[in-house]
């Protein structure tokens, strides 16, 4: 009897090329040890520029009031909360990859999880800006914190979905950050051990928390990963569910919809994976990591995109059906007139949403398209445009014409400062991402090494012969090997 095959015959390898452990370390740590390239600097400076513009936009909003934006007496939330939900949604892919796929033992996640988790953290950081700075009196924002205080019996209102948001987002951020950082420890230690410069030794030495690679460390590390994965898993579902409650628990026709929680979660995973695609397609190219982030990864993620995109599509159609079937005059109006009617003032946004989120991702039913980098990159951008418009459609097209026709709003377009704030979060996101990609291993080094044992050309070369042997032969060989 021949040995059982370690490597699946159906699944392609997770890492391409013949690599040994050292080669992996070299490939991934090299960008950290090299001087930053011109491209990096250009990108980084653009990102910092955007961030500065964003900070100035917020400065105006805080100094002169929310009137710096084009919100009005009817449209209380516009770009601000649209952007908030959009960024939170993007974060979801990271947690899904790191937590749920870990629990499901999906080996392919190792190639992308580090970057995806980093993206999650940065996206949540960006998302958090909006609920904070959209407040009219942001200097009083601490009122939402339920802590013992001297303001008498005043306490936060636990009925408010916005308060639930505060808890949901802050919990999510904390857990994601811990998860990401604990995964980084062995890799940081690797960088530390290779470091030749003094500051690098110091920085990575402190950052790696004295990781020695001892079995005890590894055992605790694995245990911690599992615990955090367990904690994160419900968060993947809960965060966007709670964000959707902002709308679902309201009385606004078009917001008050029971389908929102699952539909928001699906949409979040959808947009999150699209963002991961956008980032990794560039990252793997620039940092020459094509052999770690393989076409196989791209393919798998595109499958998730087409799946979640279709779930979202079904949700859209269900909403429409219910709007008709429910015979609620106001809800019917919100859907049929404000959205489906292309000629209504903001009707176009509904069709952008439908086109980008439901129709265009169907292209990924074709394997060839799933593995085409140009198409994938293009689609990942399209999907995120579509998902931005989904939130815009939900938020703005619902409230701009609701119950009382007398209050139906004038046309809503953002001001430069509203756009500036959004661009600023892009600046924040990419500033963080550029720093991350320069100073941290963008691929989970230790985890890649872990799967190297059972996948890849290297494995085939060394283990290929052994696989043909019988168990007895193999055992004999092993006995005499030392």
């Amino acid at each position: 009897m021949a040995l059982l095959k370690y490597e699946s015959q159906v699944r392609p390898p997770l890492v391409d090329g013949t690599k040994d452990y050292h080669q992996v370390t070299e490939d991934i740590v090299r960008p950290i040890e090299m001087k930053a390239g011109r491209l990096w600097w250009i990108g980084f400076l653009i990102a910092v520029g955007l961030l500065c513009f964003g900070i100035y936009s917020i400065y105006r909003d805080v100094t002169y009031g929310i009137g710096q934006w084009n919100l009005n007496k009817t449209i209380g939330w516009g770009w601000d909360i649209t952007n908030f939900v959009w960024w939170v949604g993007i974060g979801h892919a990271g947690t899904l990859i790191s937590a749920i796929l870990l629990l499901f033992r999906q080996g392919w996640r190792t190639g992308v999880n580090r970057a995806a988790e980093a993206m999650t953290i940065f996206a949540v950081m960006c998302a958090g800006q909006f609920p904070i700075w959209h407040m009219g009196r942001v200097w009083m924002a601490f009122f939402v914190m339920p802590y013992p205080n001297t303001r008498g019996p005043l306490w936060s209102n636990f009925n408010s979905p916005l308060l639930w948001d505060v808890f949901a987002i802050s919990t999510y951020f904390t857990v994601s950050l811990l998860f990401w950082y604990s995964g980084l420890l062995p890799d940081l230690a690797t960088v530390r051990d290779r470091a030749k410069l003094k500051w690098r030794k110091l920085f990575y030495g402190v950052a790696s928390f004295g990781w020695s690679g001892s079995t005890k460390h590894w055992q605790r590390h694995e245990a911690l990963s599992l615990v955090l994965a367990g904690l994160s898993t419900p968060l993947v579902l809960s965060v966007h569910t709670i964000v959707s409650f902002d709308f679902a628990t309201s009385v606004v026709p078009g917001w008050h919809t029971t389908i929102f929680p699952p539909y928001f979660v699906a949409g979040a995973v959808f947009s999150g994976f699209a963002m991961v695609q956008s980032l990794l397609i560039i990252t793997r190219k620039v940092l020459h990591l094509e052999e770690y982030i393989t076409l196989e990864h791209i393919d798998v993620m595109n499958k998730i995109i087409v799946l979640t995109g279709s779930i979202v599509g079904v949700a859209y159609l269900t909403e429409l059906f219910i709007a008709w079937y429910g015979q609620n005059k106001f809800e019917g109006w919100a859907f049929m007139q404000n959205r489906v009617n292309l000629f209504s003032p903001l009707g176009w946004s509904y069709y952008i949403m439908m086109g980008c989120n439901v129709i265009s991702p169907q292209i990924f039913w074709f394997r060839k398209m799933r593995r085409n980098l140009t198409v994938t990159f293009f689609m990942s951008v399209i999907v995120n445009i579509g998902m931005w418009f989904e939130r815009f459609v939900i938020i703005v097209t619902s409230i701009y014409r609701d119950y009382l026709p007398s209050s139906w709003s004038t046309y809503y377009t953002p001001t430069i400062w509203e756009i500036g704030f959004y661009l600023g979060t892009f600046g924040l996101f990419f500033t963080c991402y550029f720093l991350f990609s320069k100073f941290f291993p963008v691929i989970a080094l230790a985890e890649i090494k872990h799967i190297l044992k059972k996948s890849g050309e290297n494995y085939k070369e060394t283990m290929g012969e052994a696989e043909h042997e019988t168990v007895e032969e193999f055992a004999h060989e092993m006995e005499h090997a030392h």
């Binding site: 007496k73 449209i75 936060s156």
Partner: protein, 1046 residues
């Protein structure tokens, strides 16, 4: 211890004399003290000075020390308790308009006006303009001292004595006559002073000039009744009201009084429902037309023909020119109803054409209105000016026949149709003196200007109707160096008494002593014990002549221009009042501008904009950019943006007067007329035409209006005008249907809520949550949509009471208006048929829901529910997430998008962010109008209607102090309720079985509905459905069928 000695030098070792010497003197040097102590600034002083000057410079340069202006009373004035308001009865006087009011004075500042309920004319009602007039007192453009024009500029005259000397010099040795030009003056004492003054100058005369002239009516009455005056009207006595273009609920004569009377006739008694029938024939949709049961439109030049046709239908021996068959049918219908209600009918006309008014008088004669709905026993005095008098004055001025012109109140340089002629004529006059509160268009052309006090700073009286007096008393010491017009005249006529003494004496004499005078002053009104009613003998001699004159009247073939007054602004006397400028016009919902009003058909023909097509309408209404057109009338041009208003006659283009106030040098406008009027609209007065004896508010447009390539943004507070058949929001039904099925609405409600056991158990059954007791007071409001005429008095009252911010045009354009209370206006009917348009006015304010959707979404509980059913805002707690506003189905919450109140920043921080008008409202002077009982909200905070919680609190405390229960409708009234001339708003404790609110809800069960009731938000504001005395409700046409299918 070691005795070892260390030495450094041999000298030290040997301890030589030379060493001793040198070590003693090692550092010896004499101090250079010379000149140090006897210098002018000794060194220590220098340091002192240096320290002081550095500190002082640093202090002066680095930080601005905020100036705090709190001046405590050293001696408390008698009868004044800080924090407790005093109320003084006084009178609003503006031109000929007279309204008895009660001024609320807090800590020496009048801050709010209420209607005087003792007045039998207004019975406590007010208008938007009356409510806003308190702000005029604190207008930043008011003149602060007497001025003299030196040929280039106005120079301050330091004292009244100096001014009097100047005037005496100017009045001496005049060649021409002395003419006193005023608006209509109703005050008996002022008239007396004027007579005395005129007596001093032989050949002098007094000319009364009214820009909103009623000459036509006065002359017609003279021709037919032999009396050059206007009778009292009784709309409440009329079962059928026909108005030929008279906007009697908005701007015609005495709208407060008429609105109250009208509403009396429109009140529904559910047991025996019957209301008056109101026909309106007009060219533009007015507030009155919006309330009409049946409305017909015609060209402005057809007004006379319509009157003639009506007279003919009523059996008059006149023949009317041919009219449109539909219009004709309408006239026949109206005539039929009028004849069927002889003695209980009234016809009024807004025309200023004498002949038309003669025909209208004949009509009223034919329907027996004389002595029943028209009362000649009590003539009204609001308007006395005759147009031709002023025209001859202008001719006199032009001919140099006038030596001195004294102007008080009148502003012909702005509102006379031939203002240029007046201006050039004025230049030929040697002495020109103006009594005015600001350097308006006429005053800036005068040589001597003496600041006139505001009515709240003045003594005085007024006689709106013969025998009905209303008194003025100062409520504040004059803010500026002002002197009453009467005082000046007295002084210049050589009298030693002051006007105050004269006034006091006049009334003491008249009322039998000081006690009577003081009582009258306290009451504010002096009225006869009982009112009388009588007709006047009618002389039909002039009717035939008038009829033939009307037949030969020139008719327009192309477009015609109709000039009208807007309810907020009128003729523009209070044009610099930001509250009024920001008050949306009841019909167009536009603020801060005047514009052309055209019919949907005009728009369709000219721009191919078909508002009946939803796609186009959608696109049109969401953008504020409006096309600009240019019209020509007799060589004069006017270009303004266009608003498409349903119900406008297809051949008529409307434009409001009262806008476009501007100084001769435009850059002077903010200082002379006021900051708020800068750039607000254009002056349409030059388009008023003169027909040989009176002015007319219409003109024939030459050719077709020219469309210009530019657009202009018009700031409307409401852009969508159709209620889309949403009967959940608006309920209206015909009188016929209501009689047939008085409980139709109740049935509908029960049907809608049948899953919850109907209306009765909906509150408990409509929720999963358990109920809680709500004992004690439970505030509730009822708004009768049948009584509300949409005048907007409540909106301004709310502004004044609750310190609601003015945001300016730029912000209204961005939909940032702050009105806590707004009047939603919906049109329904066929846009192509102007006659079919029906209008609904729905006052919309916070509904104080018992299950408020705004409350549970606030993350910090800044908005919460009081035990008395109030939905309250804790501004200090608000962090400004705006979630509550999103979740408010009524969209009544208002957010402070910028620092509108100047509450939390230095003015420099506001500049450029908020408009100039907001800056003006934040001036220290304007801020005096703020109600100290109400917080001014800072930037970033949500606000909304509080049901005037400060008034509720005051009322409760009063009752508590007197140890008694609250008196319904007396202790607490909201500002909107109190301001309303028609009593459309009822407010009180709904838990009290005896209160009016409870009774109103019980007795009007058939009309009662709650807006969006099925949301289970449980509003504490209910509405009473609008009942129209007409055949069909246009608003639900087509929707009812749909529902039946479903």
């Amino acid at each position: 211890m070691s005795e070892k000695k260390h030495w450094q030098t041999f000298g030290e070792h040997s301890n030589s004399e030379a060493f001793k010497q040198s070590s003693e003197n090692e550092f010896h040097e004499d101090l250079q003290t010379e000149g140090l102590f006897d210098a002018k600034t000794p060194r220590r002083d220098f340091l002192k000075y240096l320290g002081f000057s550095t500190a002082a410079a640093a202090l002066a340069a680095s930080c601005e020390i905020p100036v705090k202006k709190v001046i405590p009373y050293v001696n408390k004035p008698e009868n004044t308790i800080p924090g407790v308001a005093d109320y003084y009865a006084t009178t609003y006087v503006s031109g000929g308009d007279v309204v008895s009011v009660v001024a609320k004075v807090r800590d020496g500042r009048p801050i709010k006006l209420e209607g005087n309920e003792l007045s039998s004319i207004t019975k406590g009602g007010t208008s938007a303009r009356v409510q806003a007039s308190v702000l005029d007192l604190y207008d930043t453009a008011r003149l602060r001292h007497p001025k003299q024009f030196d040929g280039n500029n106005f120079q301050e005259v330091t004292s009244f004595d100096a001014f009097d000397k100047l005037v005496a010099g100017a009045m001496a040795g005049l060649t021409g006559a002395v003419v006193l030009l005023t608006n209509t003056i109703t005050s008996p004492t002022t008239k007396q002073v004027i007579t005395e003054f005129l007596a001093k100058y032989p050949g002098s005369k007094h000319v009364q000039y009214d820009a909103d002239s009623y000459s036509g009516l006065l002359l017609a009455n003279e021709a037919t009744y032999g009396k050059k005056s206007i009778p009292s009207y009784h709309f409440d006595q009329a079962k059928v009201i026909v108005s030929l273009g008279a906007d009697f609920l908005g701007t015609w004569l005495s709208p407060i009084e008429f609105a109250r009377q009208y509403a009396t006739g429109r009140k529904i008694d559910e047991k025996n429902p019957d209301i008056s029938k109101h026909y309106q024939f007009e060219s533009l949709l007015s507030v009155t037309g919006g309330n009409a049961d049946k409305r017909y439109t015609h060209r402005p030049t057809e007004t006379g023909a319509v009157a003639l046709a009506l007279l003919a239908e009523l059996g008059g021996s006149v023949t009317a020119p041919a009219l449109d068959p539909k219009l004709k049918a309408g006239i026949q219908k109206a005539a039929k109803d009028l004849l069927a209600n002889k003695g209980k009918a009234l016809v009024v006309s807004g025309s200023n054409n004498t002949n038309v008014q003669i025909i209208v008088n004949a009509i009223n004669e034919a329907i027996g209105a004389n002595g029943t709905t028209i009362n000649w026993a009590i003539p009204i005095q609001w308007r006395q000016g005759i147009d031709s008098d002023f025209n001859s004055l202008v001719a006199d001025l032009d001919g140099g026949k006038v030596g001195a012109l004294l102007v008080y109140g009148a502003n012909p340089a702005y509102d006379y149709y031939d203002a240029e002629k007046f201006k050039s004529a004025l230049k030929k006059t040697k002495t020109t003196i103006s009594f005015n509160d600001r350097l308006d268009e006429t005053t800036e052309l005068c040589k001597y200007v003496i600041p006139a006090p505001h009515f709240l700073e003045s003594w005085g009286d007024a006689e709106p109707k013969t025998g009905y007096f209303s008194l003025l008393q100062p409520t504040i010491a004059p803010l500026f160096k002002t002197r009453a017009f009467e005082d000046s005249l007295l002084k210049w006529s050589g009298s030693n008494t002051t006007y105050e003494d004269l006034f006091k004496k006049y009334w003491s004499d008249k009322l039998g002593g000081v006690n009577g005078y003081e009582k009258a002053l306290q009451d504010g009104v002096v009225e006869p014990a009982s009112s009388s009613m009588s007709g006047a003998s009618f002389n039909s001699a002039k009717v035939a002549e008038a009829s033939s004159a009307i037949v030969s009247m020139k008719k327009g073939s192309s477009f015609e221009l109709a000039l009208y007054q807007k309810v907020p602004i009128g003729i523009g006397a209070q044009a610099n009042n930001p509250w009024l400028l920001e008050l949306p016009d009841p019909i167009t919902k536009a603020t801060w501008d005047n514009y052309f009003i055209v019919s949907p058909k005009f728009a369709k023909d000219t721009w191919k904009i078909d508002l009946a097509d939803r796609r186009q309408a959608d696109k049109f209404e969401v953008h504020p950019d409006r096309d600009v057109i240019k019209i020509k009338v007799g060589g004069k041009e006017l270009s303004l943006p266009v608003l498409i208003i349903p119900g406008t006659n297809d051949n008529t283009i409307g434009v409001a007067v009262g806008y476009g106030r501007q100084s001769t040098k435009a850059e002077n406008t903010p200082d002379f007329i006021g900051k708020a009027v800068v750039g607000v609209g254009k002056n349409a007065f030059p388009f008023v035409t003169f027909n040989g004896s009176t002015i007319e508010w219409s003109a024939l447009i030459d050719g077709t209006p020219e469309k210009l390539s530019e657009t202009y943004k018009v700031a409307q507070t409401q852009t969508h005008s159709n209620y889309e058949g949403r009967t959940e929001v608006v309920q209206e039904l015909t009188l016929e249907d209501f009689k047939k099925e008085p409980d139709a609405i109740l049935k509908d409600r029960n049907e809608e809520l049948k899953n919850y056991g109907g209306v009765k158990s909906y509150k408990e059954q409509g929720t999963l949550y358990s109920q809680y007791e709500q004992p004690g007071i439970h505030w509730g409001m009822s708004v009768d949509m049948n009584s509300c005429v949409g005048c907007g008095a409540c909106v301004v009252a709310c502004h004044a009471e609750n310190n609601v911010s003015v945001v300016g045009k730029a912000e209204v354009l961005r939909y940032h208006d702050m009105h806590w209370l707004r009047i939603d206006r919906y049109f329904s009917g066929d846009l192509a048929d102007a006659d079919s348009i029906q209008t609904v006015f729905q006052p919309m304010l916070c509904q104080h829901c018992d299950n408020a959707p705004c409350e549970n979404v606030c993350p910090v509980s800044a908005t919460n529910h009081s035990s008395e059913g109030l939905n309250q805002m804790a501004y200090n707690r608000c962090i400004g997430t705006r979630y509550c506003a999103n979740n408010c189905p009524f969209k009544v919450r208002r957010f402070n998008w910028a620092d509108y109140t100047g509450a939390d920043s230095f003015p420099d921080n506001q500049r450029g962010v908020v408009s100039d008008v907001t800056m003006m409202m934040n001036d220290d002077l304007s801020r005096m109008v703020l109600n100290p009982d109400v917080t001014v909200r800072s930037r970033g905070v949500m606000e909304k209607c509080s049901f005037c919680v400060q008034r509720l609190q005051e009322g409760k405390l009063k009752a508590k102090k007197e140890d008694r229960p609250l008196k319904d409708m007396e202790d607490v009234r909201t500002a909107c309720q109190q301001a309303c001339p028609t009593n459309a708003i009822v407010f009180g404790d709904a838990n009290n079985k005896q209160s009016l609110i409870t009774k109103t809800r019980q007795t009007n069960e058939g009309r009662l509905f709650y807006a969006l009731e099925e949301l289970h938000v449980l509003p504490n504001v209910n509405y009473l459905a609008k009942v129209r005395n007409t055949d069909e409700i246009e608003g639900t046409k087509g929707y009812k069928k749909e529902e039946a299918h479903a």
